[in-house]
Amino acid sequence: MNMIADTMTANMDNKPEPQVNLDIEYTETVGAYTCDDAKISTRDVNVFYDTNQAIHDVSLDVGRNEVIALIGPSGCGKSTFLRCLNRMNDTIDICRVQGKILLDGENIYSKKQDPVLLRARVGMVFQKPNPFPKSIYDNVAYGPRIHGLTKNKAELDDLVEDALVKAGLFDEVKDRLHGPGTGLSGGQQQRLCIARTIAVQPEVILMDEPASALDPIATAKIEELINELRKNYTIVIVTHSMQQAARVSQRTAYFHMGRLIEVGDTNKIFTNPKHELTEKYITGRFG
């Protein structure tokens, strides 16, 4: 017994200093970044803010009807990468994107691709619930209206109701559809934003930390909603909560300093990650 105890203490004491600044310059992505049935596939994506490189050679496939979670410490480039997928980065003047991003095999950064059309196909839900300062109905109807998706008022009504039902909000707001969208609670607002996105009938939904501003119950509702939506949509979600990533996603991709370190089955990543950085991140060993 004593011997064991001694070894134990010795073992604890003689551990090498933690290597936080790992040399990841030449790290290859660990795990299978490809998918058999890819909805989105990116190859060697590099993103620059002016001369600053935010994303380094990221190649990642997103499977059809799967939820993929992008995790990683702040400033690791996961949000930047997400915003490449519907060209939201176009709005930032100094942002430059290189590499191929294919949606159903078509390069979304080609000259032919119209960003407005792309965003109708790839919807986005943001970190902070950001309903328009309009009524609940108008919030949801806005997308269909600008794209001319419906022929008449009745069709639009149906579409709005359908979107609200899918977002699990209809029962809560059916009596005040023409009340202000900003009068809802945070969680309801976020579901309104999801309903607004669904109303455009996109193929892919990007979610940028959709529950980070919400309380646990509202978060649980959003997560449940994500699970429901998976049947019809491909979802890419960026989250700071590892538990959330573990709960909602089928695959998880870990980003670190602009590089995709590891990607794989969520169950694997959370029980037995391959890369040391992933391990450190998901067990809470980064400051």
């Binding site: 919807g123 986005m124 943001f126 950001n130 300062p133 009524s135 600008i146 009068g183």
Partner: protein, 428 residues
């Protein structure tokens, strides 16, 4: 050895000092507000007390017999005949009848100055309106001369020795006599709001200047608001980031600091001399003032647009709205309260502006009330300037009254803007 430091005691010690400082600062602030308020109060009291007499007018009650033959008028006389007729005589006759003791030419002449020279037009208008008065004897109020007005309002001290007094004993005697018999009395001065400028203080009104200001501001608003908002939207939302745009931005900021008289010179040189636009017209004034207010509104609009949360833009763009749709459906409505604030600041500036308008001839003496933006006119601040410059004592109260009107105009404009802003600020 040092005393052991107890945190609570230490904090307590400093607390007293900190609270004291806070108190001092608070009272300093209160004092500053008090001083500002006091100045405002003094200013307003001064203006209001000086302006109050301008809102009442002295009327002289006379019985005039209108002899059609003497005037050379018949029942079927044309309008031109009426205009040409000499209505001065009946009034003079009435005055002579009232004070028959005045027989000397000089005294009679003095007597005639009891009523304003506008009295004959009053009589003419009355007859024009009701031709049945011809050949009858009418008792009506006539506008008193400004000296009579001054005596009645107490602006001329009756106890002064005659040599120091503007109104001589004889005239004062008549006035006092009429005042005692109730033939001279004060009424509300409607004329002030319905007449244009005049050389005679008792006949001068502010309507011309009010309309001039209104037309000028309308032109300014119509020109500067759309242009400024369009420029602000383009610069904030669409303009590429390059040296040319930077150059434009710097120039806009510089333009806001250019002395206003320079804009007047520009207006004179370009709009009047080169484009031969009418002189003294609200059109040119409005154009010149809009040049001046443009930078103000652009700068305010840009910061209002900048203050719109990016999340709103992202939400719209994320749904596939085009840039244009994003701006006009979401950004602009959200920025509108700020833009309106900037506009009202610019318009208030324009309302009070004098210097550039001097250069384009709006300082001219204009009696007629402008009917359109092309008519010569003046504006409120210039009217103030003109009256303040006039030697007649009667204009003193008019000046203050005009200032008061200017202030009321400003407050009304602000009220409208605040109403509008409240309406758009409704958050959904």
């Amino acid at each position: 050895m040092n005393k052991p430091i107890n945190n609570t005691d230490q904090v307590k010690l400093s607390l007293k000092k900190r609270y004291f400082k806070e108190k001092v600062f608070k009272s300093a602030g209160l004092l500053a507000i008090g001083i500002a308020f006091m100045f405002l109060l003094v200013l307003l009291t001064d203006i209001i007390t000086k302006a109050m007499p301008a809102f009442s007018q002295t009327q002289v009650n006379l019985t005039v017999s209108i002899d059609a033959d003497e005037l050379g008028l018949k029942d079927d006389s044309s309008r031109e005949d009426f205009m040409a007729a000499d209505f001065r005589q009946p009034i003079r006759q009435a005055l002579r009848d009232r004070f028959p003791e005045a027989t000397k030419r000089k005294v009679k002449k003095e007597l005639y100055t009891l009523v304003s020279i506008g009295a004959e037009y009053q009589l003419r208008d009355a007859v024009l309106e009701n031709p049945a008065l011809l050949g009858q004897s009418v008792t009506m109020d006539f506008i008193a001369d400004d000296d009579v007005d001054a005596v009645i309002k107490g602006a001329i001290d009756r106890t002064l020795p005659e040599s120091d007094r503007r109104v001589k004993d004889q005239k004062l005697g008549w006035i006092l006599e009429m005042e005692a018999s109730g033939e001279v009395h004060k009424t509300f001065n409607w004329l002030f709001f319905s007449a244009g400028d005049s050389r005679e203080p008792e006949l001068a009104g502010i309507k011309g200047a009010i309309l001039g200001s209104l037309y000028t501001l309308l032109v300014t608003l119509a020109l500067s608001f759309p242009v400024a908002v369009a420029a602000a939207i383009y610069l904030e939302e669409f303009a590429p980031k390059n040296r040319f745009i930077d150059f434009i931005e710097i120039n806009i900021n510089n333009l806001a600091a250019v002395p206003s008289i320079v804009f007047g010179l520009l207006g004179l040189a370009v709009f009047i001399n080169f484009f031969s636009m009418p002189r003294s017209a609200p059109l040119v004034g409005g154009i010149v003032l809009s040049l001046m207010t443009l930078p103000t509104i652009i700068i305010a609009s840009r910061s209002a647009i900048k203050a719109v949360p990016p999340s709103l833009r992202e939400a719209a763009l994320g749904l596939g709205a085009s840039k244009m749709q994003t701006v006009f459906h979401h950004v602009l409505p959200a920025a509108l309260p700020g833009i309106l604030t900037g506009t009202i600041i610019g318009m208030a500036q324009a309302l009070g502006e004098t210097a550039p308008l001097l250069m384009i001839g709006m300082v001219a003496f204009i009696v007629d009330i402008p009917q359109s933006i092309g008519d010569p006119s003046t504006v409120l601040p210039i009217q103030v300037f003109l009256w303040a410059d006039a030697p007649e004592r009667g204009f003193l109260e008019k000046t203050s009254a005009a200032i008061l009107v200017l202030l009321v105009f400003l407050i009304a404009m602000n009220a409208v803007a605040i109403r509008l802003r409240k309406k758009f600020e409704k958050k959904w």
